[in-house]
Amino acid sequence: MLKTALENVHIALGARLVPFGGWNMPVQYRPILDEARTVRTRAGLFDLGHMGRVRVRGADAEAFLQKLQTNDVAAIPPGRIRYAMILSDQGLTQDDILVYRNPGNDGFFVVVNAGNTARDLEIMRRTAAGFRDAIVDDQTQQLGMIAIQGPLSQQITQKFCDGDLASLKYYAWMQAKVCGMPMEISRTGYTGEDGFEIYVPKGHEQKVWDAFMNAGAADGLTAIGLGARDTLRHEAGMPLYGHEIDETTNPIEAGLDWAVKFNHDFTGRAALDKVVAAGGTGRKLVGLTSPGKRCPRQGYKIVRGGQEVGQVCSGNISPTLDTNIATAYVRTEFTAPGTTLEFLIKDKTEACTVVALPFYKRSR
C-alpha cells in the first residue's frame, strides 16, 4: 500500500487510517461530523497526496487533451482550470479530472482520482501515441498535495504565501512562494467552500503542513480526514468516482453535461451524441433528503408504489442541513423536485423527497 509523505504526521495526530485508492489515508482525526462543521465555519487541512498528478507538454498537448477529455481545453485561458471527464468509446465515465492550463501557457497539468491513476495514465499514454508531440509526465510521486478549505482559508494561507491570494479567482492557479519556496497554488477544492490546493515539491510536505497548522491554530484550523471530505463534497453536490459516476454511467445522466463541450472531437463523443439524440438514458441523478433515523446508503433501492425506480449512489448524514442526504439514479419520470419516493433498508421502507442539487451552496 502506498503512503504519503505525511503519514507519520497523521499517526501522531491520532488519525484512523484506512486503505483508499491504493493509499493508506486518514479517514478521521475527530468525529466526522465535527470535522465537517469545522470546514464549513472555519478551515480544515487535508493531505491529498494520494491524488494523481500529471503534467502534459509538447506542441500537440492541447490537441491531445481535446481528444482525451470532454471539456473544451482550447477555451481555457492561461492560469485557469476546468472540470472534465475521461470517457470510454462507449461514452462511459473512466474518471473525472481537473485540467489546468499553465499560467505561462507552456503546457497543462491534470489532477485525477487516486484509484484511477494507473488506468488514466494508460489511457493518456495510449491516446498521446496518436499525436506527434504530446508528453505525459506522471508527477504523482514527485509532488505532494495539501488543501486548505473553509471560509478562513485565505487569511491563514496568506500568512506564509507571497502570492496575492485575494486576486486569485475560483478555478485559477498561480506560482507563488510558499514557506519561501516556489510552488503552485490553485483556488479549487472538493468541499463547496473557498480554499486552496497547493502542489508541494517532494520533501517539503511537512514544512508546508506545519506552516498551515501554526498559521491557522488561532483561527481553529484542524486536520480533516476523508470521511468529512466525503460528507462535504456530497453536501456540495460534487460527484465521487465509484458512487455517482463510474464505468456504468455517462455524463448526461449524471447531470454533468455542463462539463461536456460538443464543439470538439473526444473519445466517447459519438456515443454521447446518441444519448443526447435519444433524449437521455431514461434515468437521471437526483438529490434526495430523508428526515428519518435511517440514512440511505450506496446500493439501497429506491421504490415508489412498490416498484423499483432507482438506486442510491451515496448517502450521508448532513451536519450542515441537519438531515439525511442521498444521491440516486432514478427513472426520469420521478426526478422532479418535490417528488416523494421511498428507499428500502432490507424489507423496511423510509420516506425521501427529491430535491435540487446541490444540497448546499455557500453564500459568497
Partner: protein, 126 residues
C-alpha cells in the same frame, strides 16, 4: 486480555452464557472501528435468532454493519435503553452496553476464547 468469562466471534460480537441464557454484545475493537455511532437496530423480544446470521444492525456516520449472532434461540430481553445511549458502547461495551439476551438452543461452532480473540484482533490491526 478481554473478559475471559465469555466467548467471541471473529466478527467482533461477544456472548456470555449463564443458565442457558446468552447475553450478546459487541467488543471494544468493533466499537473503535465503527466510530461515530448513530443508530442501533435490535430485534424485538420473542424474535428468533440464528447462530452466524444477522440479529440486528449498527449504523455509524459512514456505514451500516450487521450484528452476527453467536447463538441460536429466542430473544427474551433487549437492552431497550441502549439505542438512545450509544455512548455506552464506547464506555462499557462488555457490561452496560449488552444488546440482547437469548434463550439458547444452539451455539456457533466458531466461537473463540478471550486469548484467541485478542490474537485475532492483533492480527486484524496489522
Amino acid at each position: 486480555m478481554r473478559p475471559n468469562d465469555r466467548k467471541y466471534l471473529k466478527s467482533h460480537e461477544w456472548c456470555k452464557v449463564e443458565n442457558g441464557i446468552a447475553t450478546l454484545g459487541i467488543t471494544d475493537f468493533a466499537v473503535s472501528h465503527l466510530s461515530d455511532l448513530v443508530f442501533l437496530d435490535l430485534p424485538a423480544k420473542g424474535a428468533s435468532v440464528t447462530a452466524g446470521e444477522s440479529f440486528g444492525e449498527i449504523e455509524s456516520v459512514k456505514a451500516v454493519s450487521d450484528l452476527y449472532s453467536p447463538v441460536s434461540g429466542e430473544v427474551v430481553e433487549i437492552n431497550k435503553d441502549l439505542p438512545d445511549n450509544l455512548e455506552w458502547l464506547g464506555s462499557d461495551p462488555f457490561a452496560k452496553a449488552w444488546m440482547v439476551k437469548v434463550k439458547v438452543t444452539a451455539t456457533s461452532g466458531d466461537l473463540l476464547d478471550a486469548a484467541a480473540y485478542d490474537a485475532h484482533c492483533a492480527a486484524e490491526s496489522h
